[in-house]
Each structure stands twice: as C-alpha cells, then as structure tokens.
Amino acid sequence: MERRRFVKKLLAFVIPGGILGVILKPSTAKAKDYDATKHYYGMGIQVNKCIGCGRCVEACKDENGVSKEPFYFRTWVERYTIKKNNEVIVQNIDPRIEGIRESFGEREILRSFFVPKLCNQCDNPPCVQVCPVGATFKTDDGVVLVDENRCIGCRYCIQACPYGARYLNPVTETADKCTFCYHRITKGLLPACVEVCPTQARIFGDVRGSASPLTRFKRMNKLHVLKASLNTEPKVSYSGLDGEVR
C-alpha cells in the first residue's frame, strides 16, 4: 500500500514535471532566427561557490573540440593558497599538468579558494584593436570571436590579451579562445561551462536584461573585474574576488 501511494505521488510529480519540462525546454530555434542586436552577453562568477571540480574545463574542451593537452584552454580553474606567512601559491587544477599540484598542511594555510578563468569578452578588447586583418572582432551581442578563415596566425592578439585567454590552435594554426559557446547561446542554450557547473558558480546571461539570474547576481553582490586598471572593460565579473587574483 505504502509503495503504491509512493508511486502515485511520484507519478504526480514526474508527469506534470515532464510536460512542464517540454514546454519550458530551452528554445532550440535555429541561429538564423537569432537577432544579435537584441542581446548583450556577460558572465558572473561567484568565487565562493567554485569547488574546483574542473567539470567546466572538461565540458569546454569536449563541447568546443579544444585539444586535451594541457597547453590549450578556453577556460581553466586556478587554485589560490595563501599561507600564514603571506606566501601566495597559485596552481592550475588541471590534472594533466603533472607535478604542479602541491598539498599543504592545514595549519600552514591562511585562506584558499578557486578562481575560474576564461576570456573576459572585454567591451574594450585589446585583441580586436591589434588584429591586423580584423579576424578578431566583436559581435553585436558583445562576444569577441575569431574568424579562423581570415586569421593569418600572427599571434599579436595573444600578446595583447592581458588575461592569457588566447592560444594558437595547433590544428588550424589560428588564434583561438572562449566564444561563450556562441553556437549554443545563439540557440538559447547556456555555455557548456555554465551548464555543467554543479554549484552554479558561473552565471550567464544578458547584461542588459532586467530580470535574469545575471542581473540578480549583479544586484546582490559587490563585483570586481580582473585587471580593471587596464581599462579593457571585461564583461565577466567576479563576486568575492580576492586581491591576490590577477
């Protein structure tokens, strides 16, 4: 009897839930119906929520076909360990980088945290400024992209990026970087890293939107961007960012 009631209740949840899920399913409308001028994207990162699981890094590599070798990253996660003697140790948590991860005794550590990094999709992007052939450009919806059919592989943009967010794709020999998963967001989906984050440390959305998780994040937190003094105007903002993070 108990079991029957349980199954009934379960169905009562699952069936309407399923129907609701189908109705509310993110739009898979084709990108051709997409109007870039109606959006302006940004990302919020809650440093205190990141647990350093690295799923975002894996999801990004899988989704975007980024080489699995530990020299090419569209997004990565840094672990900061600030010891009691004020020594700061930063490590990339990627398991493929051997010998870089170190452990410390709990008593030695003052504070420790993880910081996800990616292209900041700057509003005033130095990479776009320096590209000699205009292969790197800013879209109407504020995303900085690289046209791999036009890039000549001079790597000036890699030099100009203050965040180390760019690399030379070893296959195409053109500059490469995070696109906010442009192929997904123009279909109404979330970037892969945001989708898989188990703690919702990453929040993606329209920076101009009036009611969205990103707007709420921006309303509820004191925010900071990386290397603000360089006036690159990043559209990736961080809450709970430590002064040691560069």
Binding site: P70, V90, R150, Q159, P162, G164, T172
Partner: protein
C-alpha cells in the same frame, strides 16, 4: 600528441612559479627577433646616408651609396622572417587588402611600401640614374641590358637633368629622415603599445628602438666598409672611418642614456610587475641583457671609442679597435632585440612565474633559418653592388645628349 605539444611538455618542467596555462608556448620566437633587427639596420643605414646628404658631410661621402644599397638589401629581406613565422603566410596579403586601421601591425604594409617605393628606390634611382645610363652605353650585354632596364630606359644625361636628379635626391633625403624614424619607430610602437605587457609597454620604446637602429645601422656600414674596401684592394679612408666612429659614439651614448632612463624609471616607479621583471632579468636574461647587451654591446665599445678619441693610436690599431667595437655593437643590438621580443614573453602576465624558451637548430623557427635570414641580405647586397657599383664612376664621358 602533436610535435608542438611534445616540445611544450619539456618546457613545462622549466616553468617556475605560476603561469597562465596558455602561456607555455612562446609565440614570437627568434624569427620575430630577426625582424626588428633587420629593419633597425635599414633605418640606421638610411639615417647615415641622409646625414651625409642633408648636412653635406664630405668625409662620409665615400659610404653614401653603400649605405643606401645596404638599406635596400636589408629592407628586401626584412619581411621574410615575419612571413615565415605566420600561421597562415598564404593569407598575408590580407594585411594589404583588409587592414584594420586600429592595428599598429596593419600599418606595416603601408609603412613598408612607403619606405621601399618612395624613399629607397627613388633615392637610389635618382642617385645612380646618370651613371647607369653611361654604364649601359659602355658595357657589353648582359650588363648593358640590365643597366638599360634599371635606368627605366632613361637616356637624358644633360647637365639640366643631372641637376634635377640632385635636387630630387636632396628632397627625398629630407623625407627620408622622418621616414626612417617612422619605419623603426613604428616597429617600437608595435611592442610599446601593448598595455598587457609591462616589459614592452613604454612610451620610450619607439625612441629606444630608433636610436638602437641608428647605432646598429652605422655599425653595419662600418663593418661592410672595412671588409669590402680592402677586399677591392683599396685603402680605407681613415677620415671617413673616424667620422663614422664619432657618429656611432654619439648614437651609442644617446641609446645607452635612453635605456638607462627606462631602467631607472621602472625601478623607481616599482609597479606591480617589478618583482617578476627583476627576477626575469637576473635569471632568464642575465647573459643576454647584462653581459651581452649592456657590457659587451655598449660599455666596452664605448670605452674603446673613448680610448681611441683620447689617445692618438696609429691607423692599424685604430682600425682593429673600431672593428672590434662594431662587431661587439652588432652582437649587443641583436641581444637587445632578443631581450625585448623573447624577454617580453618569459614572464607570465599573472606576474607570478617565468616560462622558458628553447631554440631549435633546424626547422622554420630554428637557428639555421635565423642564420640564413641574417646572411641573405648580404647576398642581396653583393648582387646590388654588382649592378650598382658603389665606388666606381664612369670612366669616359657620356655619349648622348650631353656630349652632342
């Protein structure tokens, strides 16, 4: 694993501190060191030639043509290292067809074309016009044809036309000096305008580049003069050599002062990046910067030239000392380019770590290719000197309109 990654795995072991993961690959290698080195030689040689013309300095007249041809030879090869280092050299024409006017690098095509077409080719053509016409009249094929073609089938050797040539040369020279400043100043700007990189980001960068260019250009012309003249069985004009050494001395002093100013300014300002930059200089760049660039490339040559100025050494010793100085200066300027280009990529933009760079012997970014690119301009110069002899003047009077 691709071959680049295999190399990077080795480099990963040499990383100290923390670098952003994408920073392990040094993107601008030795080829990008060669490029500013070559353009610096071009700018320096042209500025030397221009000094001769604009200020009408008689002593240095003997190297005027040599300087121009040297500049042309090096300018013709200068884009080659850039082209070779591109991921997609076959798309390089896009810089000319679809330039991004906000990009300092996109201006390359225009500055280069201006310099090659307007300044150097015109100046050389007008300087040689009368002589090549006369040579073409006196020679046998195939040199006769070559000279007729390079004279663009011009035949007028009248006094009036020669007078016109001289005027044009003077005019181009006057444009030539700011153009030389533009060419190399612009190369400095490519680096100096990168705000992300504190090693490069300096308003002094174009000026430092320019003066180091003048230093290297004069030193190169001295080397070539001291090698070619005895090879031709002629005597080195000591007045010319002393004068060039004097110019070199002043240029090195200005260059040294500017670099010292830059150094003191950085230390005094002591910005966020100062710790990692100091660490880099003391570890990664100690030999190339402190020993080669500053000690061997500047201080010792300066001391030698001061010695020559103070004590009246005899000709042979002077020649030897000058030769040693200019060789050291060339070495020093190459190290300067190395320290700017490679140095700027040895530290992480997180200012928390240093990476490593290893040159290969073979391959496009290898040492052999570098040597080829450094020797190639000399081969071009040898050909140019064959077509446009720098010291011979036509033996007989011209036949043609003037003679008639």
């Amino acid at each position: 694993m691709n071959p680049i990654s295999e190399k990077l795995v080795d480099l990963l072991k040499q990383v100290t501190g923390y670098i952003y993961p994408n920073e392990i690959e040094v993107h601008w290698g030795v080829l990008v060191v060669v490029y500013p080195y070559l353009t610096g030689l071009v700018a320096g040689a042209v500025i030397l030639a221009s000094l001769v013309k604009v200020f009408n300095i008689k002593e240095v007249q003997a190297v005027y043509r040599l300087s121009l041809l040297t500049a042309l030879a090096f300018l013709l090869i200068a884009p080659l290292p850039l082209l070779l280092h591109l991921g997609h050299p076959e798309r390089s024409y896009e810089i000319f067809l679809n330039p991004n006017f906000a990009s300092a690098m996109a201006m390359f095509g225009f500055v280069y074309a201006w310099y090659l077409m307007v300044v150097l080719l015109l100046e050389i053509w007008f300087t040689y016009r009368k002589d090549i016409i006369v040579w073409s009249q006196q020679e046998n094929p195939p040199m006769k044809w070559i000279h007729r073609i390079v004279s663009l089938f011009s035949t007028d050797v009248s006094d009036k036309s020669v007078e016109f040539d001289k005027k044009v040369v003077k005019g181009i020279t006057i444009i030539g000096i700011p153009s030389a400043f533009l060419l190399h100043g612009y190369v400095g700007f490519i680096f100096g305008s990168i705000k992300a990189n504190p090693w490069w980001n300096s308003v002094l960068m174009p000026i430092v580049f320019l003066f180091s260019a003048i230093v290297s250009g004069i030193a190169l012309v001295i080397i070539l003069y001291m090698v070619i003249i005895p090879f031709r069985g002629e005597k080195i004009d000591m007045k010319c050599l002393d004068k060039m050494a004097s110019y070199l001395f002043y240029a090195v002093i200005v260059d040294f002062s500017l670099e010292l100013l830059d150094f003191i300014h950085r230390l005094y300002q002591s910005e966020e990046s100062i710790k990692i930059l100091s660490e880099m200089v003391m570890n990664k760049l100690f030999i190339s910067l402190v020993i080669i660039q500053v000690l061997l490339g500047m201080l010792i040559p300066l001391a030698i030239i001061v010695g020559v100025k103070l004590f009246r050494f005899d000709e042979e010793l002077r020649k030897l000392l000058y030769f040693v100085s200019v060789i050291l200066i060339q070495l020093g300027i190459f190290a300067t380019r190395w320290n700017v280009v490679i140095g700027g990529q040895m530290f992480s933009k997180s200012f928390r770590g240093l990476t490593a760079y290893k040159t290969e012997l073979t391959g496009i970014e290898g040492l052999l290719m570098t040597l080829v690119l450094l020797v190639l301009p000399l081969v071009v110069l040898a050909v140019l000197l064959k077509i446009f002899p720098a010291w011979e003047t036509p033996k007989r009077n011209p036949v043609g309109e003037a003679a008639a």
